[in-house]
Assembly symmetry: C2
Homo-oligomer: 385 residues x 2
């Protein structure tokens, strides 16, 4: 079995862990952020550019790839890595979240989920077994079980029944998994109810998954609720498996979750924000469309050494954005992903040196303060290393 997870260092002052995940397509360090490649591409970038900004693993969407071009097509073309020209690890979700997003277009039964394609209205039926089969055809390194993501808010009874269904589905996924299949991660559900989360985690842990995700968060609940649920759930997950917080999030969310023992993250935030002209910088968020940047010769972030900041002015980026040019999405995405990847590397270094809480505190209170110096140092290491 190609999959392996190793904890390299535990922080002395929090539950943060520095780890390493090994897969058939290479290894990557955790805590890790996986950019989202919805339709077989991290929007606007090539794989070479992803490597250049420091991306080590990406996420692919089972739901989207199943509908178009189809998992069998991708399978016949040699799998997702070959199809999209990405040689490093790929994690695929199960489609559970996309099905949840379809709302009225889906119908859930014990057997699986009936839904209509958002592309052409065609009818489909996904079961736990089918989802494993799809991810096998895609050839992902890490696959996810089919789950039901419940809306927020939902009644205790509804969530209890749904969580129990998710657990039964997880078992069915595990039962049809082959040895050569992608590593399989379970997904803890349970809405915003601590006892249901605990029950979900305990039931799933009794089966032998290679990793555990926490799903159904960041769906509209208050930030404090999310942290409360994380705090109630993580202690029930096996320490020696990766802990994956699905669909999260902002740099600050990631800091909180790492502190509570989470290892993996994915979110469209850096890439979607980029296309909307919102850039992450060491001084906070920047909206590049603002008139104040009209003749601003400076790079987006003077502490950043990404391709965009090394070569282009705020004025040019503003112009490209206003002119609706494709290059705008590209240059902004490069910058935001570089920011995120560099951020994760700094988290990893902080854990290694037992200064994660300090790093986290400093990041929050002085985003433009004394971290700049470290930032420049780390950027340099990053580029040269």
């Amino acid at each position: 079995m190609a999959f392996r997870f190793e904890i390299i260092k535990k922080d002395h002052f929090s539950k943060a862990r520095l780890g390493r995940i090994e897969t058939y397509h290479g290894s990557f360090s955790t805590p890790a952020f996986l950019p989202v490649g919805t339709q077989g591409t991290i929007k606007s970038l090539t794989p070479e550019e992803l490597v250049e900004v420091g991306v080590e693993a990406i996420l692919g969407n089972t739901y989207h790839l199943y509908l178009r071009p189809g998992h069998q097509t991708i399978g016949r073309l040699g799998g997702l890595h070959q199809f999209i020209h990405w040689k490093r690890p790929i994690l695929t979700d199960s489609g559970g979240y996309q099905l949840y997003s379809l709302g009225g277009l889906r119908k859930i039964s014990e057997e699986g989920v009936t839904f209509q394609s958002h592309l052409d209205g065609s009818h489909h039926f996904l079961t736990p077994e089918k989802v494993v089969e799809i991810q096998r055809a895609l050839g992902s390194d890490i696959g996810m079980v089919l789950d039901e993501c419940v809306p927020y808010p939902s009644s205790y009874e509804y969530v209890k029944a749904s969580t129990s269904l998710t657990t039964r589905w997880a078992k069915r996924c595990l039962d049809v998994r082959h040895d050569a299949d992608p590593a399989l991660f379970a997904i803890v559900q349970g809405g915003m109810y601590r006892d249901l989360r605990e029950g979900s985690a305990q039931a799933l842990v009794q089966m032998d998954f290679q990793g555990y995700a926490i799903g159904g968060l960041s769906v509209g609940e208050p930030k404090s609720t999310m942290l409360d649920i994380l705090e109630a759930t993580v202690p029930f997950l096996p320490e020696n498996t990766p802990h994956y917080l699905m669909g999260v999030g902002t740099p600050e969310d990631i800091l909180d979750a790492v502190m509570l023992g989470l290892d993996l993250f994915d979110c469209v935030l850096p890439t979607r924000n980029a296309r909307n002209g919102t850039l992450f910088t060491s001084a906070g968020k920047m909206s590049i469309k603002q008139a104040q940047y009209n003749e601003d010769e400076r790079p987006v972030d003077e502490a950043c050494l990404c391709y965009t900041c090394r070569n282009y002015s705020r004025a040019y980026l503003r112009h490209l954005y206003l002119a609706n040019e494709i290059l705008s999405s590209r240059l902004n995405t490069i910058h935001n992903l570089y920011y995120y990847m560099n951020f994760m590397r700094r988290i990893q270094e902080a854990i290694r040196e037992n200064r994660f809480l300090d790093f986290s505190k400093t990041h929050r209170s002085h985003p433009n303060g004394r971290e700049i110096e470290n930032l420049v140092r780390n950027h340099t290491t990053f580029v040269l290393g």
Copy 2:
């Protein structure tokens, strides 16, 4: 004066010439094709990618850059090269063609052109002197005079009066040109009337321009008419200046025009076609959206060594196109520009070796025949060189 044009080799069997243009931002070989960077970017590509596909010089649109972000803004930011991060030669048009495209939104007088912006309806007034000033602020290497591009068809009287106006405007441009300004090219007009073309050329040649363009072609007239006009015009242009056919065109148009003594070309064809999913290959044009490519593992062109063909299948390119992904435009544009740049290099080599007519004939009759071998050879030289 930084501008210089040198003829390196004349074809023994046609009027084709191999030349070299030197500018302040470096030199490039002719016959040359300049991709169009309408709004300060060759749509979807970075300057580094342009260099990689073999682009030596690009075109910028005065009309678009004047309106947004404004020539003064670009001037204050260090000029167009600095603004867009392109270190090689830039030719800017005068806006004449864009004003022609505005149709009813423009009004022409002896003094200049009044028009409404296509962006916000604001009113503007461009004169020959203003157009020189704009191109000075942009810092282009080669600028164009303001001209009136006449619709096809137009009456003899209308074209005669218009051509005479274009000639007077050319003189006014030359009168305000400073020594340090961009090299200034005149534009021969005269519609589809051979005697008016001849008259236009003779009048302009009496002034001392650094190059001569032929405008107002490829505006809907039959192909044979365009060639007839080129044949009637080129002999009146000074041999020791570059001859520029504006807005043209297909590979076959370029072959015809090179044969008649043209040196420079620009067109949105390869880049716009790319975004529409139409690709140039050694076997002719390919529409990547076709269902037959659904599971086609081959590259777009098996004889091509561009980044796209080296790394991606037709199936993936079709998927990206159907999914409306940004990467589709990028990969297709890389391929089409590589095709064009390689095509121009093969033209240059053919002229150098006195086999241009043979090359031209072979290209037309056997696009997928014995040229393939040469193509592969040239591609290899190109990549390694």
